[in-house]
């Protein structure tokens, strides 16, 4: 992972997002915008993670259920009142994707030494923030199978 993806040797700036009972840290350079929940049009036959498609700045984008993506138990606000629009995929093929979540909390600095690497998938690492376990998301892996 390199510094462009926000996971290099320097400290990582990340948007802290609450989803279900989990916290997720999204590399700030991958965050396009946080908006009130986009109106989602379902895509029949899709996996449960894909809530559907939504219109964002005149373009269609897929909207994913962040809690399902990370396997988070349902929290107190399961209605997903916010959509975090992020750049997903590798740098040469990135695309905008909406992540339906409970709340965008704050921007935090994460020291690489505090991160326990988790693997090559969407959850790139884990870190404790404020005493709560937090998934550090690798959004580059989101579009890959």
């Amino acid at each position: 992972m390199d510094s462009r993806s926000g996971t290099g040797a320097a400290s990582l700036r990340a948007l802290l997002v609450e989803t279900g009972e989990y916290l997720c840290a999204l590399p700030i350079n991958r965050v396009r915008q946080v908006v009130r929940a986009l109106s989602v049009h379902p895509l029949p036959g899709a996996s449960p993670e894909l809530l559907g498609l939504a219109e964002f700045t005149g373009e269609p984008i897929p909207v994913l259920d962040l809690a399902r993506l990370v396997g988070a138990p349902t929290g107190a606000r399961p209605a997903n009142p916010v959509t975090v629009v992020v750049w997903a995929g590798p740098p040469d093929a990135r695309e905008l994707v909406g992540l339906a979540a409970d709340a965008a909390l704050e921007i935090v600095e994460i020291a690489p030494a505090d991160v326990a690497a988790a693997g090559p998938g969407l959850i790139g690492g884990e870190v404790a923030l404020g005493g709560r376990p937090t998934c550090l998301l690798n959004l580059e892996a989101l579009g890959s199978s």
């Binding site: 029949p44 036959g45 894909l50 559907g52 269609p60 994913l64 995929g89 579009g143 890959s144």
Partner: protein, 95 residues
């Protein structure tokens, strides 16, 4: 820009290439769009000649939706999934 027939079905909004559509037939339980490849089921037809900017669906849709998507677009503020009559998702298939 592509010229599409836009229809609704199963809560979604779908697009078919205008050139592939022959006619729209009313049936007891909705509509059927006749194409060279067979019938496409629809709840409603919203537009028979929509000029839409269709772009590739992207890797995320391909990963989480098993259907064959030719592209995605926006019609009247709502997303449209463009499909081929030759490779319809089950929700659009005539029984």
């Amino acid at each position: 820009m592509q010229l599409l027939v836009v229809l609704t079905r199963g809560g979604g909004r779908w697009g078919l290439a205008r050139d592939a559509v022959r006619e729209v037939v009313r049936q007891a339980d909705g509509l059927a769009v006749a194409t060279e490849e067979g019938l496409v089921r629809a709840d409603a037809v919203l537009d028979v000649a929509a000029h839409l900017n269709v772009r590739p669906p992207g890797a995320v849709v391909a990963r989480f939706w098993p259907g064959h998507c030719l592209g995605v677009a926006i019609h009247d503020g709502a997303p449209v999934v463009v499909v081929s009559p030759a490779a319809l998702p089950p929700v659009l298939q005539a029984e």
